[in-house]
Symmetry: C2
Amino acid sequence: MQFVVIGGDAAGMSAASRAKRNKPDMDVIVLEQTADVSYSACGMPYNIADPDREMDDLVVRQAQVFREKQGIDLRTGHRAERIDLEAKTVSGRNSEGDGFEMAYDKLLIATGASPMIPSLPGFDLPGVMGLKSLEDGRRIKRFIDDHHVKKVAIIGMGYIALEMAEALRGRDIQVAMVKPRPILLPWMNPNLSETVREELESNDVTLHLGHEVKAIQDIEGGLQVVCDDLNLDAQMVLVAIGVTPNSGIAEQAGLELGIQKAISVDRSLRTSNEHVYSAGDCADAYHVVTGQKAWIPLALRANRGGWAVADNILGKGVSLEGIAGTAVFKVFDLQVARTGLSVKEAEEAGFDPVEVDIKARTRAHAHPGSSAMGVQMVGDKKSGLLLGVQMVGREGAAHRIDAPAVALHAKMTVEAFSQCDLAYAPPFSPTWDPMLTTANQLLKRL
Amino acid sequence: MQFVVIGGDAAGMSAASRAKRNKPDMDVIVLEQTADVSYSACGMPYNIADPDREMDDLVVRQAQVFREKQGIDLRTGHRAERIDLEAKTVSGRNSEGDGFEMAYDKLLIATGASPMIPSLPGFDLPGVMGLKSLEDGRRIKRFIDDHHVKKVAIIGMGYIALEMAEALRGRDIQVAMVKPRPILLPWMNPNLSETVREELESNDVTLHLGHEVKAIQDIEGGLQVVCDDLNLDAQMVLVAIGVTPNSGIAEQAGLELGIQKAISVDRSLRTSNEHVYSAGDCADAYHVVTGQKAWIPLALRANRGGWAVADNILGKGVSLEGIAGTAVFKVFDLQVARTGLSVKEAEEAGFDPVEVDIKARTRAHAHPGSSAMGVQMVGDKKSGLLLGVQMVGREGAAHRIDAPAVALHAKMTVEAFSQCDLAYAPPFSPTWDPMLTTANQLLKRL
């Protein structure tokens, strides 16, 4: 059997490695358009924060390990451009400009996602950067060094934008952020996002909310982000307004696309063609709370999807339950975490959501080192089901969020969650964990 | 209605407060034999660690608040000695030596637990201490100050013993620990408990395992713990070999006792007499994994039980699901956590347990500040059910344990748990959280 994989990052290399390990006589070919495979993209902001670290530290496994130790036919610098579903072939072009074409028995499209860059004047100027590939990371780091960058404008305020703000402040670079919408983190409970805003501002990050960006222009000594009523001067501009799935090659081949133009897959990661799978940031998934399709491109799902594809082409019949939308990020000293649905998302999915948010302490009464923690919880008035949780705090939010994430997979009610026997010791939480206190409050409104 | 509560700590005061809040015209009388009510007993080791803190910092709510603001008839220095189930009365003696007797419509026995002190020579000498009540804590602290204690022997190596070892080392007091069994933490996977042993030893705590204590004797300048082949000299001896439920008054009244002589209660916290409830450390509970009775005296359960009793005497029909045996403690820089069953406990409960343990990193590949984390997981070969998890690490164990705790309440299989969408960001975990890696490994053996 010939198993061809388009894309050599998380989903692609997970699938290739697992397929080859479980069936060593399978021909496994990976086509990767860049020179990089299997790296920790999520680690880039932290790497950029440290001038002494090489970007290549983020490579989890070297290409030669895949080739020599694992026996994977890994072809870097190979860009797949066309899939012929009838003939079962992939064709494209390598970095020398030579065309190639190869047959597959099973195909995995793991092309990932790309940063969105608006079609506005000046977004192609040198010094305007996106951040998705390792090469993007190297470029940013090199640009900071070469131009002795001391001032950056960031367009967008999503989690990558916020992580980059922290990374750049860590290098003592001035950071101004701008976005058109007037709300910092629209999915977040306002009392919780207020804490994030305070943390950014107390670290001297300037926030410009509600400013539509019109253009970027070259000015003496750098760049200028031009808005209606605001001009931001900077030496470098980071565009972090979100990512879009790399589904063009799938669409062109006639495969079905789903939500937000991600490649539509079933629970076995199969596309609308029985021989073609898709996994990672280019593919959609089922949401365990809504039962509907969602596109939330995150790393765990990519790795898990890659494994499931490998298992399924070997006939194991793996079916993935789906995602709960669990995510966490760090903003300076804050941990910001969520799982499940926001109130708005719950309404859109047809629930009758009720939310509460509380402020609690991270440690027991009278225990030193305690700090404030915000917890929000959403439940469904009709069914009593737990729908989502958000948290923000200086400690303990990042791992606490896994508890309600498990509860969402188990389709627990808020009441059942409130009965859970959670851990308590004075250095780690109050006797009633903040999550239980929130559940107890929410129960009164359900 | 007259609601009488015996015992003024977590369970008792939770019940009294909630009953009075929800039904202000109810007569609520609390009989507490000591002068202290409503304090954070779990905080005592951390308070003892700090010579500048008053033990009374641990009082969560003052007696006068209960009396004046909440209208609870709180009688401190009142020791209940006898319950007459027929006459529905409680009688006893107050600290002045005067007898009292009062009638109840509903009674809550919340007498807690006491440290076990063996009936061996010398355990009644001055300087031999247990730690359960706030008065115990004050006595220990006073003794350390008055005798300029620089050397302590601790008998026992349970979590209170270990927390006290850390507390005393924090005051630069030499600590030697001794216990008869040859294993440090018998419920723990040996690879994980080895990490705890190393942590204790690297903090200069001397461990003497497998030494039966025969007596304590007075020697020049202090005390001596006498074992078969070992004598430990110390100025103070802490006895921390476990606690036993204060169920004597219940037994004497003819109420049914259960496991480990704890007061037997149903899921509504009712004893074998319909007008008498019991909650907190003196009562047993159902274990959600085994469905059987268990006695695991911990603070969250006491508070939750107190609330449930208040709700039930008001006719709300609350039924508690039970406990998962979730617990966490800190030993120097280590977080040690568990939920559910150990392999041995699982065998005893009739399961066919399989376990794995792994060493993982607490943060992502190449992320600075990462450390090792040990995770053990137990599953049932017959049903595939998750049965228990143990963890030890320098960060992230204390709150991570809540995720498998929720899974135990939901009666999840290991496979279902392995599919959960857990949080990932480089500062907080690898892409595959250590818990998921452990679940994936365990799945191969189930």
